[in-house]
Amino acid sequence: MRLRRYVLLRVLQFVPVTLVVIVLNFLLIHLAPGDISLLLAGENADPAYLALVREKFGLDKPFLEQLWRYLVQVASGDLGLSFRSRQPVLGEILEKVPATLLLVGTSLLLSVAIGTWVGTWIARRPGSTLDSAVSFGAVALFSVPVFWFGLMLILLFTVEIPILPAMGMTSLDGPRSGIGYVLDIARHMVLPVAALMTVSVGQYVRLARTSVADVLGEHFITTVRAIGFPERTVLQHYALRNALLPVVTVLGLQLGLVLTGAVLTETVFSWPGLGRMIYEAILARDTPVIMGAFIVMSLTVALASLVTDLVYAALDPRVAL
């Protein structure tokens, strides 16, 4: 039952991250210039709502008590109210999750698949011209500003050769159900997914390349080659299997960058997800929404790193549980 112990320990490590994020959030509001109640209720709040917010956050109470109240509040899932809609922030965020998940999930899956494939392919000849060229291209790819790349895609495929839609997730007059609906969404996804992939695909190419090349240099590969397994089997069955482990771990660490890319991509393509919501909240200075988004995004990243660690432990028998 060492596995259970490991899972428990690892899950417990989630707690400090949560605490740091919430406390950081709290400290920042207090350090910010201006009246906290105005930050939380909005510049044009009516006096009644202002009073409500003051009461809820205990703004007339001592500092530590306020912190405690805030912690309890967040822990119980209350991220405050958006001052534009007066709706709970958490609900607003959850409502937008599916659209963002679709975008982020698709582009991550494609990135991992394509990146690993290309990386494995060039790992067979490290140091070749092709290898250098692809590695160069990979670095260039993750140096591309994702929002600019999105604009360039629009310029190319919507303005110059109008074949793909650049706005939103569905056509205004498109079908609302059945296969037509799915295809409509898929068409709308092409450009944003392609843009968002630039954030991660280069990383996966490099990662898969190094990791496969490393594994191919190990002794046990010499063994399986000597035994006589065909090169395809050596590469796909043995090398890739071992090399995928580091790819798994990075998936968690990468998520922060990918979510950042998602916010920018959604803004460019008016994709109705979290990023777009955050952008609109920023324009309206809707502080509670921005704070909520910060908490949710940080915890998502921490959760992803937790999950990848657990997956890694499950996949690699060497991890000392």
Partner: protein
């Protein structure tokens, strides 16, 4: 190829950065219009007057681009500087003092590393307003754990170094030792990571400005794209050029970091060396002939290194009768393992067989350095592991760490006998485990769950899987303690006699050879310098090197000593070689030894010696 493409990448990116820096510093003096003032009519496309066109306010885009360089570089330098400094201080304190301080600190690094930079920046800017200083602080605040982690591990390795310990015992204070001896020596990877951090900072600021949250008073590339977005159809140049500038600057930083990283880690480069191998040649299928199990003539193999080519195996010839046993002895680096690899034709990418013939049981497998192909199939593939197998050195790494022992053995069995089925495979493996002395219940273990001795036994089982006629065992017991060594060697010897298989035992230990082999070949610098029956070589060693090896053997009960007891450095066979390779270390060396290559002298029945002073038998 590496030199051509990767070094230029460093040079090119350094050039880009110097150029960007020069442009940024010179911006006020360049003959450009005011970046914030209307210089021409709006939406003017790129042309002679305004190379990159004008924007919606008629401002010159080139001028705005140049001024934007200033901002980008400032953000990059300031935020990565704060971040690195913070990281260096906290990381080195954590690593230096260790204990609970380190425990808490490194936990904290991990926690802060998980906070996504961009969202914290968004929050800070939303709360404090959009000033460039907030952006830079926020970037530093979420990235410092990167350098802290690097610095910590650097300090952990550096603090045990002799010069640090010496300074401490000479009475130097902790802060002094840290600042003077440790931190400066651990900075290199921080600088490397710093360049990548700079790229990240630039992209973060640009992203922020693109969302309209950048400093309103600054000319920023991100802000230019933000403004260009609305006029994408009308004036695409408004967004194209600042984006290109961003891409080039960030790519230059990333490529520089990458290149520096590779320059700092030489082992990353070595993988890429490849030697050119010879093409296979076709031969007719041989008539079955009762021949020695293995015949090797003038075998040669080379390693390609950065500076030179090493002739690791340099003209080796010998024959081994069926069921016979031959020990190959020599210091590490003498070419004995390379010879084993060449016989099996499994070599590192930078190695190639450059000459020689090998015949296995009358079947040619190597002809003048070319792999032989019989009936369209490489001859070595038809016998390797089924008739000619090997026990690899260090079984710890020779087995796949993420598969159970049983899986690996079953797959190896089924590969050559696909018709046998899983049950037959398992039965055979169980049988082998009994022979080799591993309890059957350990079959389902992963390699790391077995002891060194067990793993070596698994490796032996793997090599015997298909009842081979010849096994090449390369240092099969080096990593084990003496007791288990003897046990396993005894087992190999017994198996050999019982199964009638031939054995080539590669080792550095003369004592092991004496116990296990019938004949001995002593290798030095890629050549066999003496070949003789085992009794004879101990009674009348003919080569000064063999004599030295035997002299360094312990007496009956003494501890086994390794061959490095011999004074002097082993000879590395490269370039043209005049005279005897052993001459620099030979106590009998005379002038002739340094001038003329020694002859191969037959000194008795099956006994040959490569030395000027060997006495030929009459």
């Amino acid at each position: 190829m590496r030199q051509v493409l990767r070094r230029p990448a460093i040079a090119l990116s350094a050039l880009v950065l110097v150029f960007a820096l020069a442009v940024a510093l010179a911006a006020p003096w360049l003959p450009l219009p005011d970046p914030t003032a209307m210089a021409a009519s709006p939406y003017e496309p790129p042309g002679a007057a305004h190379w990159l066109g004008t924007d919606n306010f008629g401002r010159d885009i080139l001028s705005r681009l140049v001024w934007g360089t200033r901002l980008a570089l400032m953000v990059a330098i300031v935020s990565s500087l704060i971040s690195s400094l913070l990281g260096i201080v906290l990381g080195s304190l954590s690593g230096y003092f260790g204990g609970w301080i380190d425990g808490i600190a490194s936990r904290a690094f991990d926690v802060f590393l998980l906070i996504p930079t961009f969202f914290l920046v968004l929050l800070i800017v939303a709360l404090f307003g959009s000033g460039i200083q907030y952006t830079m602080v926020a970037i530093a605040l979420t990235t410092w754990p990167r350098s802290a982690r690097i610095m910590r591990s650097q300090v952990l390795t550096l603090k045990s170094r002799t010069y640090v310990q010496a300074a401490l015992s000479a009475g130097a204070s902790h802060p002094w030792v840290l600042a003077r001896h440790i931190v400066p020596n651990g900075l290199a990877p921080i600088v490397t990571d710093g360049t990548i951090l700079m790229g990240l900072a630039i992209l973060t600021e640009a992203g922020l400005s693109f969302l309209g949250l950048g400093d309103q008073n600054a000319t920023s590339w991100g802000r230019m794209i933000f403004e260009g977005q609305r006029h994408l159809r009308l004036a695409p140049w408004m967004s194209i050029f600042p984006g290109l500038a961003l891409l080039i600057l960030v790519a230059a930083l990333n490529l520089l970091g990458d290149g520096l990283n590779q320059a700092l880690n030489p082992q990353l480069q070595r993988q890429s060396l490849r030697a050119k191998r010879r093409e296979p040649v076709d031969r007719p299928s041989p008539q079955a002939a009762a021949a020695p199990i293995l015949e090797v003539r003038d075998l040669r193999m080379e390693y390609r290194l950065e500076a030179a080519t090493i002739r690791a195996v340099d003209g080796v010839s010998f024959a081994l009768p069926a069921g016979g046993s031959l020990g190959i002895v020599g210091e590490s680096g003498c070419g004995k393992s390379s010879m084993g690899a060449a016989l099996l034709q499994v070599m590192a990418p930078n190695a190639a067989i450059t000459g020689g013939d090998v015949v296995f049981a009358g079947r040619p497998i190597l002809s003048e350095g070319h792999p032989v192909r019989i009936d369209g199939q490489e001859a070595i593939r038809t016998i390797r592991w089924t008739r000619l197998s090997t026990i690899f050195q260090s079984a710890i790494n020779a087995l796949n760490p993420v598969m159970t022992v049983q899986q690996q053995l079953v797959e190896a069995y089924l590969l050559h006998r696909p018709e046998a089925g899983r049950t037959a495979a398992l039965a055979r493996i169980g049988e082998l485990f009994d022979v080799i002395g591993i309890p059957r219940r350990r079959m389902a273990s992963y390699p790391h769950e077995l002891s060194g001795g067990m793993r070596q036994r698994v490796m032996i089982a793997l090599s015997l899987l298909h009842e081979p006629e010849l096994v090449i065992a390369d240092e099969p017991t080096t990593a084990l303690d003496v007791l288990i060594q003897d046990q396993i060697l005894g087992e190999i010897d017994e198996l050999r006699r019982r199964l009638g298989l031939a054995l080539i035992l590669i080792t550095h230990d003369m004592g092991i050879v004496a116990e296990t082999c019938e004949r001995v070949a002593v290798m030095y610098a890629g050549e066999i310098v003496e070949l003789a029956p085992v009794e004879r070589i101990f009674e009348r060693p003919g080569h000064p090197y063999t004599q030295a090896l035997i002299a360094s053997l312990p007496t009956v009960s003494g501890p086994r000593r390794v061959l490095s007891a011999l004074p002097g450095e082993p000879f590395v066979p490269t370039g043209t070689i005049a005279g005897c390779r052993f001459a620099p270390r030979c106590r009998m060396a005379a002038d002739i030894c340094r001038e003329t290559v020694p002859p191969r002298v037959i000194t008795g029945e099956g006994h040959e010696v490569l030395c000027h002073f060997a006495e030929a038998s009459r």
